[in-house]
Symmetry: C2
Amino acid sequence: MAASSSPLPEVPMELHVANRVKLVESLRQHLSLSSRPVHGYVFLQGGEEKNRYCTDHVELFRQESYFAYLFGVREPGFYGAIDIATGNSTLFAPRLSQEYAVWLGEIKPLTYFKDRYMVSMAFYTDEIVKVLHEQCQQSEQPLLFLLHGLNTDSNLFSKPAEFEGIEKFEADLGSLHPILTECRVLKTDMELAVIQFANDISSEAHVEVMKKARVGMKEYQLESIFLHHTYMFGGCRHCSYTCICATGENSSVLHYGHAAAPNERTLQDGDMALFDMGAEFNFYGSDITCSFPVNGKFTSEQRLIYNAVLDAHNAVISTMKSGVSWVDMHILAEKTVLEALKQGGLLVGDVDNMMIERLGAVFMPHGLGHFLGIDTHDPGGYLKGAERPKEPGLRAIRTSRELLEGMVITVEPGCYFIDALLVPAMESSRTSKFLKSEEISKFRGFGGVRIESDVYVTSNGCVNMTKCPREVHDIEAVMAGAPWPIKKTSIHFEAGYS
Amino acid sequence: MAASSSPLPEVPMELHVANRVKLVESLRQHLSLSSRPVHGYVFLQGGEEKNRYCTDHVELFRQESYFAYLFGVREPGFYGAIDIATGNSTLFAPRLSQEYAVWLGEIKPLTYFKDRYMVSMAFYTDEIVKVLHEQCQQSEQPLLFLLHGLNTDSNLFSKPAEFEGIEKFEADLGSLHPILTECRVLKTDMELAVIQFANDISSEAHVEVMKKARVGMKEYQLESIFLHHTYMFGGCRHCSYTCICATGENSSVLHYGHAAAPNERTLQDGDMALFDMGAEFNFYGSDITCSFPVNGKFTSEQRLIYNAVLDAHNAVISTMKSGVSWVDMHILAEKTVLEALKQGGLLVGDVDNMMIERLGAVFMPHGLGHFLGIDTHDPGGYLKGAERPKEPGLRAIRTSRELLEGMVITVEPGCYFIDALLVPAMESSRTSKFLKSEEISKFRGFGGVRIESDVYVTSNGCVNMTKCPREVHDIEAVMAGAPWPIKKTSIHFEAGYS
Ligand SMILES: [Mn+2]
Ligand SMILES: [Mn+2]
């Protein structure tokens, strides 16, 4: 293997500068509308390196996502402030000991951080109180807008910044989180370009995996091929999430692949594979699932389920645009799958009645998709006060919002044969009548199919950023050795994305 | 790439059973010697999965090392107890919700854990109080030996187990940590076999990296090649530590490669590379450094420094055996390097005088090596009360103990040209007289060389478990395409390691 053929795109720091500008405008507007004075600092604490338990094993650091969004800083131990009145931004870097130079590398001067991260000023973290008090003209106790709010996917709260001397400031804990989160929901052209790059290299890696999959291999070997391709040729050191490399029955375990269910099964002739893997580039991620038969040829059963899911995937993408409700898209996907299962002889009866009984959730217990960005499950799915739907299936969707131009959302319908859901459905008087148990029993052990693409919403439609083969004949051709060149979108930041 | 050629060794759970037996014997002896009653439970809490900040991004779980040592459990959320009187062991598994089955996989019955981990009994974590009280015949308030002690590499304390109802037990916080740590210091044959496997696959991956290194590549591409080889062909999902892939000047940064100094430099003609990378297999690690010229041919300067370090590496390994002091080995390595630098014209004067002035620490500021096992810096380097040496260089060694049969320790001498150390040494009246500044100035920007092997100590010598090419002519041959087959030691656990 020679040197990488194409050099990686340089992501300009203007991306993060633009994120800050956008936040400041949003915050100013919010303060004006609520007749509050337009001053104070947005103040965030970056992430810290973590040791593994009591050892000196340091986990590879990955910046906290809100901090990454605003400052793009890759080093641990920073704080950042943005002056709402002036828009000036300040980074506070940790003061490193002389030992650091020997063990961990050159101690960079403050000007390095100021220049690299394009902020107005840089100081040390032990100067926070002094600097912010000096810069602030308005009051004795400058106001800090701290980050405090609920992540609706984890049910955890973000941790507001902490530092020595914080009691010398006034704090607003409520305003920043919803506004900053909403900034993250709507992507800029520069953000889209980076997500596109993550999609391009990850799509290419998925194709590599399809080409190399063979009966007799271990699931983790295909994970390794994916990881290697995205790091070697895309410079992606992090994945968006732990790779799900499920074959056979494992493909019905939605989040397979973690430490208690690692990717360690041997690929068997006749298996379906469901590989959900995405690389992260410059903080922004991708989230892509491909499903295919490990031996390269679909059986008629595999084709039936696969095409049911592909129909749902395509139906959603051809309907999505600004103003469309995501709940409606979820329902459209469910309905499309049920129709196809009925067509295929697994179900009987009226599909609308099946929908009333929430039969779709038996085959697709997860939500149709989620926002994607610096987090795989990017925040903002539920605005303050918005309630989660209660019905099976619908209650799992990660947003119930209307789509807006600039959102990036995954479209990931699936169809799984999960005993824990099918057995109760066959026993229930409300749903058993729809299920042709003899036909369905043929799919015991089948696992499942998921097709997942990353899609960004425009005013009059949407763009699928994922470039994997999706049609049955394309997948079979690629697995038989046909080329599938992925034209990588170059990053023309000046010109905008498209 | 077809299916993996050789199947991976199955590590028998007897390895962890033997670790428990060893601990119980040690503890019983300790209690008897101090005339204490020989009963109570060793009680440990396993690790938990961790979310990234406030998100639902879950980091790939890796078991806490003491818990892994005793129980070999790969799942998060467990507790484990060992009855000192009977030797019976009990695992407590988390009770999982029905949702788990859909999202994360089959809910395994308690008998699965009992059988897989070869413990006497398995219960749920909400039964800890009840079970331990019922099993205990001795007292109203059963005694728990909890893990509490200092890790002398991180300066962090291990966290004693916590659970609801712990106040219904007596607790001994002081006895367990030193005894359990000492068990970990002396490896069994089964542990040695696993460390040997990690060494075999990592040695092979290092050779792969040497073969594929080319001017113009990025450092991280070679990291990717290493990671891929060890996962693809060795099933190693974790590395022992973040890969250090340093070229040129970066090779003088001892712990290069972390997030603030990632492996992102382009390989230049004339660079030395210093690659410190090791894979982990079934919890046990390897820790290997190879240094080589990226263009495949040593210059005379590179050969001089490389051979100085290799001489030190070989001198130490040919002297090591049970009873030898590790401090003496460090001094031997320093002295060997200084002799070679004098021979090469960089130093002038009496080497013993240089040693008195601690000149060795200018060129090798780190310790000669460290224990290796479930942690890369395996604990036990300083017994309670032992003091760390104070002198430059010596104060960095991670153990000052006498070697004992069964220890696995890294031998990793190095020679670096670090401005932060060389400049003061040239200015100091005590050391400047030894330094031929004109000669040394030729090595500005050279970086450094480290050669690191994993060695286990026997009664009358030691065995080098690392199988990389070390001689200049071997490295040049391998980089030019010559084969370097690594005969993998098969794991014959019954027969013991050898
Ligand atoms: Mn997804
Ligand atoms: Mn080491």
